[in-house]
Amino acid sequence: MTPAAHRLNLLDRPSVKAALVNRWPQLILRIVALAGFLIAIVSGLIGTPVGSHNFGIVFVWIAWWALLMLIAVPVFGRGWCSICPIPLPGEWLQNGAVLGPQKKGFSLNRKWPKRLRNIWLQNIAFTLVALFSAVILTQPGITAMVLLAFLFVAVGASVIFERRIFCRYLCPVGGFIGLYSQLAPTEIRVKDAAVCAAHTVKTCYTGSADGYGCPWLLYPGALTKNTYCGTCLECLRTCPHDNLAFNIRSLGADLRQPAGRKLDEAFKAFIMLGAALIYSAVMLGPWGALKSAAYSIGSGPWLMYAVSFLGLIFGVLPALFLLAVAAGRALSGSKATLKKSFVTFAYTLVPLGLTAWMAFSLSFAFANFSYVWPVLSDPLGAGWNLFGAANVSWQPYLTSIVPALQAGVLIAGLVWACATARQIAAETQAERAALIHALPVMGFCCLVTLALMGLLIA
């Protein structure tokens, strides 16, 4: 049975294909997103400093984050990247156009340095944002400055470098979206790799009159994972052989691809898992001193918090995981090197991490979503009432079912992670040895799940 047999190509439906290939629907969504992004910056700079009444805080850190982690990433993978506003001004400048391909744009089109062609910078960028998140997430002015910094770096990257270097190598958000997009039930792939091989011009990479060469520096003919495909849809437009498919597929299909597993992605998994644990403790836990330490940047307690934060993410979690991997390797008699086993099994943490973030997001999304309505009516907290909703009171939604949802999501993540561990082990070992190899990793996943259950639900 070929992989295509497990997939449903949505482009077989003419209406879907027309909607995706046509530039206007995407442009409209991008324009709306960019306008919202700029209003978030404006509200952060001149609006009320009270986070719960400021568009920037409510829309970025409650509405957008909840939609991203609960819907966009789990269902559409990098779908958000397709309409993300941050790289747009730079890309428009680079292309000399906002809609279709033009001949002249403004960019030095430099190549990105080879040694930086990985996601370590994204790992560092996310870790820094996460380290200061207690302040960033609550102070509109700081949020605005961070968003402006993203915009500034994205425009700078587009002006100096070719294509979407910011998205591919720098964006702190893009790194984890890419990691978790491997789980999504959607993908863009070629229908027949032989067609691509025979197509010498490779317009999907070089561009044509119909569209840009892949802004994410990918050759779609060799695409096996979602990780770096920004679903910008350009290849759908530039392929002269109608050889691209937008597939519905089984969940986590990319995890079953042994090729392309790397240490930078493995550490992204640890960063995300560690951050979910720490966020749950700081933002939802009952420890006031911990919360105060996370807020009081530069103080002694904050330095201790920062050391603990970095220690957990880059020390404790990887070390415990390494121990689990080493134990499994020794017990099963695996011939793989410890480093390779460590990197390979780290992909077990991809479903565990996504479900951890989903469970964490559930805890505040329903509780705080009602802030969205008054903020729509009064985005700056200036006393306006544009849509008559300015006085809608805060009211948590679905509080009675959220713990059950969280528990369900965490257990599903654990089961998924264990299945992934076993499947990864089975790539190189027979069934019984594979199970033995995977067991300590499964134990690690159980411990993390128990910790999350305790922090989020207990």
Binding site: L27, A35, L38, V50, P379
Partner: protein
């Protein structure tokens, strides 16, 4: 090319126009005076100084940028306005006399809550200004900072009710008691021949009766309300100097926790301490309230309380000594 032009126009209108519209609308909506409150450590009221004209209404839009605050004008019986984070409340003020009025926060918002004050300078016909008599502690030339320990103290808390049952007139002229110190009055009564059959404690009960006879239930109720709202956070509801803010006053400027701006470590006075209180008089207490503690962290309330309110508060403070 036509499509590209239209797309650019769309970008211009929505991406540039919409945020620009928001900024413009914000600027245009600044009608009345916007008064923003933040905790005193972060700056207090902004603006802290407002000008107005006698008889001309000034409209204030109030909001808080951090926690819940309250807004009131000192020495005016206008109701306080609640100032909520991120919400706007509008209030209109009209002053009938020129002068410098103090507005202040009425909600305990932090250790430096009392510093959250501002002024409204009301201009107008200066001849309409009513000259007020100086407070009693000034006319008596009292040294408010001098120690005033009592040399005698009761064994148990004196009771006006028990004093009344003795059927002995305390013989303190109405009004004069504000200048009298309870310890001195006790000595005076103790030395009287008519008190020779009374025990020391019974004499103290007579002193309590004298103090109770010079106030009213209504004044005590008003004093209690003022005390609970303005004093209890430091001095404690029971007057022992153990209010919820007392601990943070003691750690002032000694840790990372926000302390008291511009003051060293202080301990709120214990109103139940008989030695200290019974050597003072009402005029001293009035002075402490009106002038403040001068470097001890005790706020000045002269611009906030009316004279009647201050005396009501003083009367209530004596209830920590006398039942």
């Amino acid at each position: 090319m036509k499509a590209e032009r239209f797309a650019r126009l769309l970008v211009l209108v929505i991406v540039v126009g919409l945020p620009a519209l928001v900024v413009a609308a914000r600027s245009a909506s600044r009608g009345p005076i916007e008064l923003r409150g933040v905790m005193a450590d972060e700056g207090g009221w902004a603006p802290a100084e407002i000008t107005a004209q006698v008889g001309q209404p000034i409209q204030l839009r109030l909001t808080s940028d951090d926690v819940i605050h309250g807004f009131a004008i000192g020495q005016r019986d206008w109701p306080a306005v609640e100032v909520l984070p991120g919400k706007w409340t509008t209030t209109t003020l009209v002053f009938d006399r020129p002068g410098k009025y103090t507005f202040y926060c009425t909600r305990w918002c932090g250790p430096n809550h009392w510093r959250m004050r501002g002024t409204i300078e009301v201009a107008g016909d200066e001849t309409a200004t009513v000259s007020e008599a100086p407070p009693l502690y000034v006319t008596l030339h009292l040294d408010l900072d001098a120690p005033h320990p009592g040399d005698v103290a009761p064994v148990e808390k004196p009771s006006a009710a028990r004093g009344a049952q003795l059927n002995v007139a305390p013989q303190i002229a109405a009004g004069a008691y504000r200048e009298q110190r309870p310890a001195q009055v006790w000595r005076y009564l103790r030395d009287r021949a008519s008190s020779s059959t009374l025990t020391d404690q019974q004499v103290w009960d007579l002193v309590a009766l004298a103090w109770r006879s010079n106030t009213t239930t209504e004044r005590l109720a008003e004093g209690q309300k003022l005390y609970v709202e303005n004093c209890a956070a430091c001095h404690g509801e029971t007057g022992k100097g153990d209010g919820v803010m007392a601990a943070s006053l003691q750690t002032a400027n000694t840790s990372d926790m926000p302390g008291l701006i511009g003051h060293g470590a202080v301990t709120p006075i214990d109103f139940t301490d008989a030695r200290s209180m019974l050597g003072a008089n009402s005029a001293i207490l009035q002075g402490k309230i009106v002038r403040g503690g001068m470097g001890t962290g005790m706020p000045y309330w002269g611009s906030i309380f009316t004279e009647a309110q201050t005396w009501a508060l003083v009367d209530y403070l004596w209830t920590f000594q006398f039942d």
